[in-house]
Amino acid sequence: MAQYTQLGLQDAASPLMEELLHFHDHALMIITLISAFVLYIILTMVTAKTTDKYILDSQEVEIIWTVLPAIILVLIALPSLRILYLLDEINDPHLTIKAMGHQWYWSYEYTDYEDLGFDSYMVPTQDLTPGQFRLLEADHRMVIPVESPIRVLVSAEDVLHSWAVPSLGVKMDAVPGRLNQVAFVASRPGVFFGQCSEICGANHSFMPIVVEAVPLEHFENWSSLMLEDA
């Protein structure tokens, strides 16, 4: 989950998010170094006692400060394009789940074998137990098997919503009448949080997404239990 003073992205829980995270840190390091360097030059120039008389014909430094930025840009562009194409790889999912946005909750449907559907409402702040996260917990989590390619089809039953889980590197708009596909693999077991990412009315901030990745046998037990309860 997100934390108050975090500097970077949340810990990755999927291979694609790992790539995005490393790229983000790589690009951020480059721009931080450039900004620090430029700041240093500005401060040096502003506080210098001498003035530079020679403002013409500096062929060498002109070449350096043209070629070096071009090289830096290539070093940013190449990993960026690699990730861009990685995101569009063809997937072979093991499981399809539908995430339907409503005002103001999500509902999940697992219909590959039986018809399993349930709603997922935020746990109100006064009902939280110690250790739970305010505005992030939900009464029913979307449980998935770990290390399995999952296809999530996102849609909405009323207005625009958006289904996002940052640690899985996933965000997809929920549009009424449209079925948007997003795929991912949870590389480790855990509980991953997200929040609705498209303004959808009064309780837009209070319809979180909770994904729980568990070993396959646990997932099968959970889905049998859910079907019995339904």
Binding site: H94, T96, M100, T111, D112, R151, L153, E157, L179, Q181
Partner: protein, 86 residues
């Protein structure tokens, strides 16, 4: 039912990648399989053949389509005002 179709149905996990719908928008994928299921049923039962191969389309549309959409379309079919051509 042919062996190949039986094999495919037996090993069904979820709707496989369909090259006709390679992009993010899978709306048509869902609708097309729903149409194909009903067209397959109509065609095969019209010729007095076993409609078991049509189960493939049913499994795919059940995987892909939201339950509320399927319910609505089933109600429309029953009422005779389904917008698609079966």
């Amino acid at each position: 039912m042919s062996e190949a179709v039986e094999e495919k149905l037996k090993n069904y996990r979820t709707a496989p990648f369909d090259a006709r719908f390679p992009n993010t928008n899978q709306t048509r994928n869902c609708f097309q399989n729903y149409l194909d299921f009903h067209r397959c049923n109509k065609a095969l039962s019209g010729k007095d053949q076993d409609t078991a191969p049509c189960q493939w389309y049913q499994r795919v549309y059940k995987s892909l389509c939201p339950m509320s959409w399927v319910q609505k379309w089933d109600d429309q079919l029953e009422a005779g005002n389904f917008p698609g051509k079966i």
